[in-house]
Amino acid sequence: MTAGTAREVPGAAAADRRAWPAWPPRAGTRLLRLHAISRRVPAAIAAIAACAIGLRIALIGHWDSYGALQLPLVFEAGSAAAVTITTASPLGEPERVTGRRLPFLRLATTLTLTAAAAGALTAAGTGAHLAGGTLDVLRNVAGMTGIGLLCAAVLGGGLAWVGPTGYLVVGAYGLYTQWHGPALTTPWIWPARPPHDAGAAICATLVFTIGIVITSVRGARDPVGE
């Protein structure tokens, strides 16, 4: 190559970008669908729906102060557990070493399911005496899902349910201490805080954000075995 004929050679990155095939929209939908199936999202949606139906049926009864506040927490924990179980990947390494789409797929799946869980439970409480209301449901579902996501990052997707179920006990006990002291008032036990409490909302949001970032980027830990 001579100086006269030299001209700028496109960088490898630019060449890669031009070489990257266009992404047909149907392929995107198909990828989302396949990813969702691999993560057992249909079963998770069924579990969330079952929680919502269970909450609706339970709200038919009249509950005392404890029950009225603790009851939704049970179904919120169930929904959060169902969401976090979908972080488990059955495909292992071959999937991890694929391109850049995987983190977005994980993010989309978790966000969608969390929103679906909050929406389903809120809808189930509409027209019934749902103590705490929509804000409470949203905060609790997001927070407990965040705890489950952090557990998934540490223990694996299969055992991610440990977080929400353990926190269910903490949250229920925190509510109980509002009547029988000493009261647990830390915002980190957000179910025991009023729905409009800013500190509790911040804590729950923080946990959810950290959890979803970690599991989107790194995914759930591969199974640790028995």
Binding site: P223, V224, G225, E226
Partner: protein, 247 residues
Amino acid sequence: MNVEITGLTRRFGRTMAVAGVDLRAGPGVIGLLGPNGAGKTSLLRMMATAIRPTSGTLRLLGRHPGAHGPRREIRRRLGYLPQNLGYYPGFTVAEFVEYFALLKEVPAAQIPAAVAAAIERVELGGKARTKLRALSGGMLRRVGVAQAIVNQPQLLLLDEPTAGLDPEQRVAFRALLRELGQRATVVVSTHLVEDVGAACTRVALMDRGKIVFHGTPEDLTARGEGHGTGDAPLERGYSAVLAGARS
């Protein structure tokens, strides 16, 4: 005779996986060849008493596995390695083999020696305390073989046992098969005809749920002379028999 099968069938929904198989086998190594979906694994699973036949008669080690007592006696003397081996990643090699020794009701006092012997036979003695999750695929396969032979079975059923083994290990494994075949009936389901040629005294070829050939490897080779396609004599015999069965 350790294996006596007459008119054995197995249906999965609408699919007839095994469509009438007759087989008799005594001590020795029998290779079970056939294309994918021929029914080899289903036949092996019936012989392992993992599933019941739809019809036909099956006698293993002189017993009918239909009744609880005889079936339990068969299982004490049975070794089985499935095609897809599941395992508990947290177990060590020794624990995994010991676990199966216990489940197979090997006398407790004999277990340590039996486990050590089985692990040594598959040349994993140095890995006895290694967790299974840390092993390569080939080593996991050898662990699978170890659990199959820990109880010194009289009937050993191996489905694709050499998958993942390197050539040297395959040679050693064939020697093991020949040695085991001196006392026990060993049924090896495989796609590798060279394994059959090196280790097996008898060959059964299955296609579409039926046995279309049963004889010695030499007989199979003879069938391929001037007729079949393949790079090796056994492969030519294999393709010739299949072609004949399908025509």
